[in-house]
């Protein structure tokens, strides 16, 4: 259950602060002084900060391994400072929100990727962005991104993760819109920002629920208290019944009104899934990622392929202790992942923009990771995060290199990224081609490459494992047994088939991509016919040509077009990262090559993180035996995809696909236009938002401005006039008001205030009435049924106790005499309701939701609840403050609400007209 619960010595691992701090320093220096520093200094600053951070990460990793080898718990903590404390309930335990960092094998591996791949991409960018006017700005953002991402991964609690989460979102926004003078880029940035906000909402909700249920926000606290999430909550109907349901036929109304329950874990899991889907571009929030390719290509490689978009997977892995408690949320995670993998792959089949293909491919691969995490194979999902970071970063950087080369000939952004203008680049840029091919081999699942192993692992796990329902699948709610969600029989095979189909398509479109880009003849000559000198034409002229369909070869332009610069290989700063990443893409599979080599390096390494949760996953009995046979569908997917694409695009020169597109033009167009999901959202959500906005405008204009504002203005003007009357500037008027204030205070302190509070115990029929204290107060009481005073004299007795029969009521009178001899009386009505709660006057309507024996029902292994606190149906935690109702004079009253034990009788305290004598 709790992988991190073994006791660790408190550690002060300040290296974490260094890892996080260096990129922040880089961002600060480059952001504030970058303009004055000059390009070399900016480069040095950016590279050294991330590079040193990488070295520190390596040291941390080595230390983690050392701790592991010494059989200590591999977890280091750096305690920053405590920001604040919140409490889960009014008198619940305090939940500290502290800026603490921690590292364990999971985050230790992530920081290697972030800083390592980050450094390579920084290096690459020094050339890619060389000519850009915003050079220092770019590197400031990039460093800030690395900082935020490290905070996200190293944060020891959800709030710190959230700071990083928002930070990477901000950097993503800034970098997508880096070339913000083009509207489309700025719009893409906004789209990413808004889609992520939707997800962030989920994360915030999850945090609130976790504080409420677990009373903790740090990883260990959540894990330790995760069992508290197994409290069933009625989620439907909201309130007691569905409004207007009574208008329906009885059976339908009964169905609608039937209470439905979800455990806290399910709610947290679904909320987290929403957050993760936003950041990791899953259905339904994936739409921002393809547009995000408007940013510079290194950004796409770093943020939108290797690191930030995997934050959602990281979150699911990190809180795996919560997810395994809720098969329902796991089911949602797995199916969202599988659907996304499949759906995005179909779109990638027909795109022509090289970066768009890679973008949809990223969405699809992220779906694979979710699929893995969803079936409970967290380490398999994370393995794919790792391999994907290598091969997808390599692919993006390769694409960047291609675009960089194409820019030598073609200046339009779209045209230089269009595969129809490429082809044959193998000849011009051999290094890029070789590395690109390596990464291609990995993503299509070429045997023995990293992608082969990681994808196969996910498919294997999808077929063989599924989460089991906790508590044997049912729990008691209000005395009734409620079935918990369990995975249906058909789920594993469905997920497996979806995964294989997506893998086949992946192999197909990636082969199409590499064939279209690197093989065959270069088609770019024809894009700019007659192109002579770099400055001969304005960009517009190029674009015009570029947009034309020049798929066929025009012989007339052939020779003339070859004039001018050729596409060329990129400088070493760009090819070195390609080589490193390409090599990693090929060999990184060795980390976890179960099926063939029984290599379990990564699984073993991550074991302390996931050891508790994997107990909650059911694995098919014969899974070991299935491991090799299940390689076959994966291999077939690879063979079919690659073979099909080879046949269609190389052997037949793309003819079959054109024919196919012509046979079903509607479908082709639909897929090409990305299933028109953007348009769907436009029509539905944005339409709804627009309608809401229009309504808001209307409301604002007529109701707020017209009615309320006029009314308020009138009131405020009246009030202002009155107050201005008071604020005359004349000193004696001021003094007069002070005298009025003094008179008010004097009135209050010289008048008696007869108030009383009732502590009622309806079950036993005992009622204690105590009068509010006051300096110099004396009391007398009338508690008898005939209403006569107990004594003629006032005395010191401030409290009476009486008992009532069931269903009866009694009037109690209290008289108070104060130090000035003034007397006030108060009459209280006490009622003891019948046990069936149909007592007179609906006296028990504020009874809170609890069982007949006064204890909360349906709760499994509850955390000790602080005395007096009650998790009510709406999360209300109630207790009695030692407070009193207030005289009728408009004092603000502290209304203490119902406690667990004595409930203040609601029928009490109808103020009587008796007053001063």
């Amino acid at each position: 259950m709790n992988p991190l619960a073994t006791v660790f010595p408190p550690n002060d691992f300040a290296l974490l602060a260094v890892i996080v701090g260096l990129p922040l320093v880089g961002a600060f220096v480059n952001g504030v002084f970058g303009k004055r520093l000059g390009k070399e200094a900016v480069t040095l600053m950016a590279l050294s900060s991330v590079g040193l951070s990488f070295l520190a990460s390596v040291a941390t990793f080595v230390a983690l391994r050392g701790a592991r080898a010494a059989e200590q718990a591999p977890r280091f903590v750096w305690q920053g400072w405590e920001w604040m404390r919140v409490s889960s309930r009014l008198d619940g335990p305090d939940v500290p929100i502290a800026f603490d960092l921690s590292v364990d094998p999971l985050s230790g591996t992530m920081i290697l990727v972030i800083t390592g791949v980050g450094f390579l991409i920084h290096l690459y960018s020094t050339k890619y962005m060389e000519a850009d006017a915003g050079y220092h700005r770019f590197f400031a953002y990039l460093n800030l991104f690395v900082f935020s991402m490290l905070v996200l991964v190293l944060g020891d609690s959800l709030p710190v993760l959230f700071v990083g989460w928002e930070g990477v979102g901000l950097c993503s926004y800034l970098l997508i819109g880096f070339w913000f003078h083009e509207d489309a880029n700025a719009a893409a940035g906004k789209k990413a920002f808004i889609a992520n906000r939707v997800g962030d909402f989920g994360l915030l909700v999850a945090m609130g629920l976790l504080v409420y249920h677990c009373g903790a926000l740090d990883w260990r606290g959540i894990d330790a208290a995760a069992h508290n999430l197994l409290v069933p909550k009625q989620v439907w109907p909201i309130g007691t019944h569905v409004p207007l349901a009574s208008l329906l036929p009885d059976s339908a109304a009964a169905w609608l009104n039937a209470p439905r329950y979800a455990t806290g874990a399910t709610m947290v899991g679904l909320a987290l899934l929403l957050g993760a889907a936003g950041k990791s571009a899953q259905i339904p929030l994936y739409v921002w990622l393809p547009d995000a390719m408007a940013g510079p290509t290194p950004v796409s490689a770093l943020i939108h392929a290797a690191t930030m978009v995997t934050a959602g997977v990281y979150l699911v892995c990190r809180l795996s202790g919560v997810f395994v408690l809720t098969p329902a949320a796991m089911f949602a995670v797995a199916f969202v992942g599988a659907l996304t993998a499949l759906f995005a792959a179909t779109i990638a089949l027909v795109q022509n923009d090289i970066k768009k293909v890679l973008a949809y491919s990223t969405v699809s691969q992220l779906g694979f990771m979710f699929l893995g995490a969803g079936v409970g194979a967290f380490s398999a999902g994370f393995f794919h995060v790792l391999t994907h970071a290598f091969f997808k970063a390599c692919l993006f950087l390769g694409a960047g290199s291609v675009i960089h080369a194409m820019h030598a000939r073609i200046h339009g952004t779209e045209a230089s990224q269009d595969m129809r203008n490429m082809g044959g680049l193998r000849k011009f840029m051999p290094v890029t081609f070789v590395t690109f091919a390596a990464a291609w081999a990995a993503i299509v699942g070429f045997p023995l490459t990293s992608g082969f192993f990681s994808k196969d692992e996910i498919l294997f796990k999808a077929f063989t494992s599924s989460p089991q329902a906790p508590l044997g699948g049912s729990m008691m709610v209000g005395g009734r047994s409620v079935e918990l969600f369990t995975w249906p029989e058909w789920a594993p095979i469905t997920l497996f088939v979806m995964g294989v189909a997506a893998a086949t398509m992946t192999a197909f479109y990636m082969t199409r991509l590499i064939v279209g880009t690197f093989l065959g003849d270069f088609r770019g000559w024809t894009v700019v016919p007659g192109w002579k000198a770099a400055h001969g034409h304005g960009d517009d002229a190029h674009d015009e040509h570029a947009h034309d369909e020049h798929a066929h070869d025009e012989p007339g332009h052939g020779a003339a077009g070859r004039e001018g610069p050729e596409p060329h290989e990129s400088p070493w700063q760009m090819t070195l990262p390609l080589v490193v990443l390409g090599a990693l893409a090929v060999v990184a599979g060795a980390l976890n090559a179960h099926a063939l080599f029984h290599s379990h390096l990564l699984d073993t390494w991550l074991e302390p993180v996931f050891q508790g949760v994997e107990k909650a996953i059911v694995v098919k009995e014969n899974s070991k035996a299935l491991e090799l046979p299940l390689l076959v569908p994966g291999l077939l997917a690879f063979a079919a995809g690659v073979g099909g694409a080879w046949w269609a695009y190389v052997a037949r020169g793309g003819e079959p696909m054109r024919a196919l597109a012509e046979r079903v033009p509607g479908l082709h167009q639909l897929v090409y236009e990305k299933w028109r999901i953007d348009e769907l959202y436009e029509e539905t959500f944005l339409g709804a938002v627009d309608a809401l906005a229009e309504f808001a405008v209307w409301f604002d204009k007529w109701v707020v401005d017209g009615l309320l504002a006029k009314l308020t203005a009138l009131l405020v003007a009246g009030g202002g006039a009155a107050l201005r009357l008071a604020q005359t500037g004349r000193t004696h008027a001021y003094a007069a008001l002070m005298v009025v204030g003094m008179a008010g205070l004097g009135w209050f302190f010289t008048a008696p205030h007869a108030q009383a509070k009732v502590e009622a115990n309806h079950d036993e029929g005992r009622y204690v009435v105590s009068a509010a204290p006051g300096l110099g107060y004396r009391y007398r009481w009338a508690t008898a049924e005939d209403g006569s005073w107990a004594s003629d004299e006032f005395g010191a007795q401030a409290k009476v106790e009486l008992s009532l029969e069931v269903g009866t009521s009694r009037t109690v009178k209290l008289a108070v005499e104060n130090a000035f001899g003034r007397v006030e009386e108060r009459t209280l009505l006490l009622e003891r309701p019948r046990p069936d709660r149909s007592g007179p006057g609906g006296a028990t309507t504020i009874e809170i939701n609890r069982g007949a024996d006064g204890r909360l029902e349906g709760q499994v292994a509850p955390r000790p609840i602080p005395s007096g606190a009650f998790p009510g149906p709406l999360g209300s935690a109630l207790r009695v403050p030692p407070s009193f109702p207030v005289p009728g004079g408009g004092m603000p009253a502290p209304r203490g609400a119902a406690p667990g034990g004595p409930v203040p009788a609601p029928g009490v305290a109808a103020p009587s007209p008796g007053g001063a004598r």
């Binding site: 405590e82 008001l737 205070l745 205030h753 300096l775 107060y777 407070s883 603000p892 502290p894």
Partner: protein, 510 residues
């Protein structure tokens, strides 16, 4: 020696004030050759401001030092009790007061020369008034209480009237003086009655006498106690400028030189809250008075709600930023009063009020300072219109202004957020739900007029032909703003240390 150490914050500021007075009187005027002056301090505002600020910072540092050493481990301090009670509560407040005074001194160092108010007695007066304020926060006896209150007030009366040529300043000073004397007289009457009723002048003795009421053989009259409570409350409510004893505030702030207004807003108010807490909890801490029945909490709750609501409503309608800040200070008195009410049940509320006042001190001093920075000689920024477009022309000044307004509005991650959070939270913990909700609602209303300043700073352009505010350049003001900004951010992002200190400063009611 321990006694001296324990009293060192007070001695440092007091002796410093005297030294500064000597330095002012016997120094050489720093005026252009050929100008005749009889004022030895002429042209020396800068150095005197620096001196005053250094003295006050020393006072603040010594307060922290004694706090760390622990006043309870200095038994000699009982020699001065109950006239001066040196406990952690006192030291926390004297730290706040020194910080507020130092910020005001730095602001004056820039403001006075810029606006041609060449009156260097400002600084000794400021220091002496701060000594009064510190003594007020330490007063455990009615005599010290009144003497300290008057020491503090007399200095402030003179500070307001510093601009002798201006009828407005004279009016403001006179108004504050008259009403202040009125309130002080009422309060003095209350104190006399209290002495008459109990035979004690020390608060602890008074508290014991009040507790004895109702027990056999007690001769203390409950009626006299209640009447004296009313009178004392009036006097202290005037000093914290709670509605309806607040009306002098906008007039006095407007007429006063801005640094003097700053000082009144931060130091006078904090000291008054300190003495209010001590009088109520020690002198009137009896269960029958410090409870939600017929005691002072409901009465103060009404004052709190009135202060917040009236001040916020009126502040939204002001055209002068300075007056707006004056009403804002009234509203903040209301928020702090919420904490005072909560103090009837939880000692933690006392720390919440102490923390709140520190946060309020640095935010308000910063906001006034930013307002000073936005204007220059002959073009003092007063109205919202004056601030139009400052965000574009002088981004640093606008940024600082925004930060302090955020803090006053209570947005995270600033000091003001935590101040409000803790005050309202202790109110909720004490069961004062209605009061906490009214406070929250009022914070939202308050955000309106704070944000309005930002609208003018960033989204408006000055009307064509209208005079443009030109920001002044002053190292003093800049230093004050940077220091205040550091406080605001530090208290907002890492409040733990200060909160720990504040929670050490709790007084217990009984």
């Amino acid at each position: 020696m321990n006694l001296l150490f324990g009293l060192s914050p007070f001695l440092a500021v007091g002796v410093g004030a005297l030294l500064l007075m000597l330095a002012e009187a016997f120094g050489k005027p720093n005026v252009a050759p050929g100008v005749e002056t009889t004022d030895a301090g002429a042209g020396r505002a800068g150095e005197l401001a620096l001196g005053a600020a250094v003295i006050l910072v020393i006072g603040a540092v010594l307060s922290v030092a004694v706090w760390v050493a622990g006043p309870e481990s200095l038994p000699e301090l009982t020699q001065v009790a109950p006239h001066l009670v040196i406990d952690k509560f006192t030291l926390f407040f004297s730290f706040t007061l020194c910080v507020g005074g130092a910020l005001a001194a730095l602001l004056a160092g820039g403001y006075l020369p810029e606006h041609g108010i060449d009156r260097s007695e400002f600084f000794p007066l400021l220091l002496l008034s701060t000594v009064g304020a510190m003594a007020l926060s330490a007063a455990g006896d009615l005599l010290t209480l009144f003497v300290a209150l008057e020491t503090m007030s007399l200095g402030v009366y003179s500070l307001i009237g510093l601009r002798r040529g201006s009828p407005r300043a004279a009016e403001a000073a006179l108004k504050y003086f008259l009403l202040g004397s009125f309130a002080a007289a009422i309060m003095l009457f209350g104190l006399a009655l209290l002495y008459g009723a109990t035979g004690h002048t020390d608060l602890a003795g008074i508290g014991a006498a009040v507790r004895s009421i109702g027990s056999p053989g007690s001769t203390v009259s409950a009626g006299k106690i209640l009447i004296s409570l009313v009178l004392v409350l009036v006097g202290l409510a005037f000093k914290v400028s709670a509605v309806p004893f607040h009306q002098w505030t906008p007039d006095a702030y407007e007429g006063a030189p801005t640094p003097a207004a700053t000082y009144m807003a931060v130091a006078v108010k904090s000291a008054a809250f300190a003495v209010l807490l001590r009088v109520l909890l020690v002198g009137f801490g009896d269960e029958r008075l410090a409870s939600w029945g017929a005691g002072w909490p409901p009465a103060l709750a009404v004052l709190a709600v009135l202060s917040m609501t009236v001040a916020n409503l009126v502040a939204g309608r002001q055209e002068s930023v300075k007056r707006m800040l004056a009403y804002s200070s009234i509203a903040h008195a209301g928020y702090a009063l919420v904490g005072v009410v909560a103090a009837m049940r939880s000692p933690e509320a006392v720390s919440a009020v102490a923390f709140y006042l520190l946060a309020y001190t640095v935010s308000t001093a910063g906001a006034f300072g930013a307002l000073i920075l936005c204007g220059s000689r002959g073009a003092e920024a007063v109205s919202y219109e004056d601030l139009a477009g400052v965000g574009k022309r002088h981004p640093a000044a606008a940024l600082a202004f925004s930060l302090f307004l955020f803090s006053l509005a209570g947005l995270p991650p600033t000091a003001g957020f935590f101040g409000k959070l803790y005050v309202f939270r202790t109110a909720i913990d004490s069961g004062l739900y209605t009061l906490a909700i009214l406070g929250l609602v009022n914070s939202v209303i308050g955000a309106y007029y704070y944000l309005r300043v930002m609208v003018y700073l960033y989204m408006r352009e000055p009307a064509p032909g209208a005079p443009r505010a030109v920001t002044m350049r002053s190292g003093f003001v800049a230093t004050a703003l940077v220091a205040a900004a550091i406080f605001v951010l530090l208290l907002g992002m890492a409040p733990g240390f200060t909160l720990d200190m504040a929670s050490g400063a709790a007084l217990t009611a009984r």
